[in-house]
């Protein structure tokens, strides 16, 4: 029987304030149905401005070529691929929360999964921009797809990690979108059935696909969610693994490392959780959802941050050890001169990375720090800066000094259009996020109701055996026909 379930008494209530089902609906729909606040408009306008700056930057790049960026020989990948890997990594936390924590039956995911999944989709959209526009002749971008063409047909190189990336990122985007939207359907139906205005009835009516809440549909919906979670779990691990293959399958010292796949995945989850914290600390405050995204949610996510941050730290140290242990001069030079040495041209970036990713998250060993919102917000920004520098370190410090000193490049700094492109993806990301928080429920309403009787503050003490009869026995008995 479904009501007979075990929930640890140690775990604090996940929904505070003694809610019933209707109040949950009211609370989560309120920001969607109310007029947007002044704060929302300010944030939205800033985001759109950034987006416009990004569009101008990209237009410059398309009109005059990739030469608008400061990439040089030997730094063929600079800010653009750094940003690509950074954004993809951020996306990973959403899938981890929605899929892996679903499989692990973590009840707390319900408070944050909807917003985190949306973040995944927007982050992957931003990530995808970089390799696409980096192609230069972007009107030929469809060349990456294996389509029948008049050149033979000449197929794409299925053995290349760059092509694996095309498949991995596009699959990841598609599956995340399907997972997110199929979960949204019941909540959109809730909004549709509450709608008073004509345009709302029409918009949510179309968006909810005619969802009714039939038990058979819920049964299929549950099966779908579970299988999509099962598919997304290896998928999310594969995506960053494949991104790391872009580097690991090369023979460049600093990239040619077998530790890359797990190290990249841990880093991705690390940075993604930091971004979730950045968004949710603000979202819960602005939309008044503190009773659903509780301090306990912030607390457990900070635990994930300190864990993954430490895994990343071990990976950094392992890399150093392997470079020394390999006794290869080039490996040693890449790690101990180009990175570790603070006086080398990019040594500073390595130490920013170490400071932000490995040292600073260690304060989350203390519960006081984990449950402090100001510290959490500040740390989440710091972690994302650190993770951006991790990718910058991996890319730039590995390639700026080639094997021969005559091929050592000049010092690489981005142009305004490279920075503008990056800022533009922030614009894209936050424009999407602001629209999402205005028009869609940022918390999964149905899923909160599903855990309410287990984890709601007012139900927790009442947990008891409700019914003793077994369902299987009843199902056996009811094999006859109705009249």
């Amino acid at each position: 029987m479904s009501l007979l379930r075990y929930e640890s008494q140690v775990r604090p209530a996940l929904v505070e304030g003694g809610k019933d089902y209707h109040q949950v609906t009211e609370d989560i729909c309120r920001p969607v149905e109310a007029k947007p606040s002044k704060l929302w408009w300010i944030g939205f306008i800033i985001s759109v401005c950034l987006l416009i700056f990004g569009i101008i930057s990209v237009t410059m790049e398309v009109m005059y070529g990739v030469g608008q960026w400061n990439l040089n020989k030997t730094i063929g990948w600079g800010w653009d691929i750094t940003n690509f890997v950074w954004w993809v990594g951020i996306g990973h936390a959403g899938t981890l929360i929605s899929a892996i924590l679903l499989l692990f039956r973590q009840g707390w995911r319900t408070g944050v999964n909807r917003a985190a999944e949306a973040m995944t989709i927007f982050a992957v959209m931003c990530a995808g921009q970089f390799p696409i526009w980096h192609m230069g002749r972007v009107w030929n971008a469809f060349f990456v797809l294996p389509y029948p063409n008049t050149r033979g047909p000449l197929w794409v190189n299925f053995n290349s990690p760059l092509l694996w990336d095309v498949f991995a990122i596009s699959t990841y985007f598609t599956v995340s979108l399907l997972f997110w939207y199929s979960g949204l359907l019941p909540d959109l139906a809730t909004l549709r059935d509450r709608a008073k205005k004509k345009w709302r009835k029409m918009f949510y009516g179309v968006a909810a696909f005619g969802w009714t809440g039939s038990t058979k549909h819920w049964q299929r919906h549950e099966a779908l969610s579970l299988v999509l979670a099962g598919l997304s779990t290896p998928l999310v691990l594969s995506v960053h693994t494949i991104v790391s293959f872009d580097f690991a399958t090369s023979v460049v010292p600093g990239w040619h490392t077998t530790i890359f796949p797990p190290y990249f995945v841990a880093g991705a989850i690390f940075s993604g959780f930091a971004m979730v914290q950045t968004l949710l600390v603000v979202t819960r405050k602005v939309l008044g959802l503190e009773e659903y995204i509780t301090i306990e949610h912030i607390n457990v996510m900070n635990k994930v941050i300190v864990l993954t941050g430490s895994i990343v730290g071990i990976a950094y140290l392992t890399e150093l050890f392997m470079a020394w242990y390999s006794a290869v001069d080039y490996e040693n030079f890449a790690f101990f001169e180009n990175r570790l040495n603070l006086n080398s041209p990019y040594g500073w970036s390595y130490w920013i990375m170490m400071g932000c990713n490995v040292l600073s998250p260690q304060i989350f060993w203390f519960k006081k720090m984990r449950t402090n919102l100001v510290v959490t917000f500040f740390m989440s920004i710091l972690v994302n800066i650190g993770m951006w520098f991790e990718r910058f370190v991996i890319i730039v410090t590995s390639v700026y000094r080639d094997y021969l000193p005559s091929a050592w490049s000049t010092y690489y700094t981005p142009t305004i259009w490279e920075i503008g492109f990056y800022m533009g993806t922030f614009g894209l990301f936050f424009t999407c996020y602001f629209l999402f928080s205005k028009f869609f429920p940022v918390i999964a309403i149905a899923e909160i109701k599903h855990i309410l009787k287990r984890s709601g503050e007012n139900y927790k003490e009442k947990m008891d055996v409700v019914e003793k009869e077994s369902l299987d026995g009843f199902a056996q008995e009811q094999t006859g026909d109705h009249h």
């Binding site: 599956v175 549709r192 509450r194 809440g213 038990t215 049964q219 099966a223």
Partner: protein
């Protein structure tokens, strides 16, 4: 599909709903459906619904994706246009694992979602009759289908006796049609089709 006659009752607590579903079935009534705002585990079993085969469909779609990827890449790189990549064999299966995996996941996910939408008749601009608009909020709505042998008054009082609220008779279209929720269109304009 057609317009049918239903006896409907609302419930506000799954702890009342569960025993009610069992009592209704023991009494021999035909449950058309129970509409709930969130999934209630075990309700499908209590209502006597069979397990969904969506998993199996997903598995078949996944296998199709695997076969498509391996088959196509093998054909493209070993038959149609052989390219020598650094002296490696044309048939280099390990290098194809990433794409094979991605296509497996892609086919399974897309196929399952489309199948799900097909089975549940979900699509943009699909419109259905709803029994109670609160059944996406906080109300569990049970609809009993009236058959030839159903005594309406008995069914109503029975539903009330097991905890149903707002019990009454409703005529509803059971199928779907193309329409928008801001416009009051019906699939069929005529009222009743089934006998009492």
């Amino acid at each position: 599909m057609a317009v049918k006659k239903f006896i409907t009752g609302s419930f506000y607590d799954e702890e009342v709903l569960f025993p009610a579903v069992k009592k209704v079935r023991r009494a021999g009534y035909k449950i058309h459906d129970v509409f709930t705002p969130f999934p209630i585990h075990g309700l499908d079993k209590a209502m006597g619904l069979r397990d969904t085969s969506l998993h199996t469909a997903g598995f078949i779609y996944g296998i199709t994706g695997t076969a498509t990827a391996v088959g196509f890449i093998t054909w493209a790189l070993t038959v149609d246009w052989q390219i020598n990549f650094g002296g490696k064999p044309f048939f280099s299966l390990p290098a194809w694992i990433p794409i094979t995996f991605e296509l497996t996941v892609l086919f399974a996910a897309v196929g399952m979602v489309l199948t799900f939408c097909y089975l549940c008749q979900l699509a943009p601009f699909v419109k259905k009759d709803h029994f109670n608009l609160r059944s996406t909020d906080d109300t569990f709505l049970m609809a009993l289908e009236c058959t030839d042998t159903t005594n309406e008054a008995d069914a109503i009082s029975f539903l009330q006796s097991i905890g149903g609220v707002d019990v009454g008779v409703q005529y509803k279209e059971t199928g779907w049609w193309l329409g928008r929720y801001d416009k009051d269109t019906k699939r069929f304009e005529k009222k009743v089709e089934t006998a009492q």
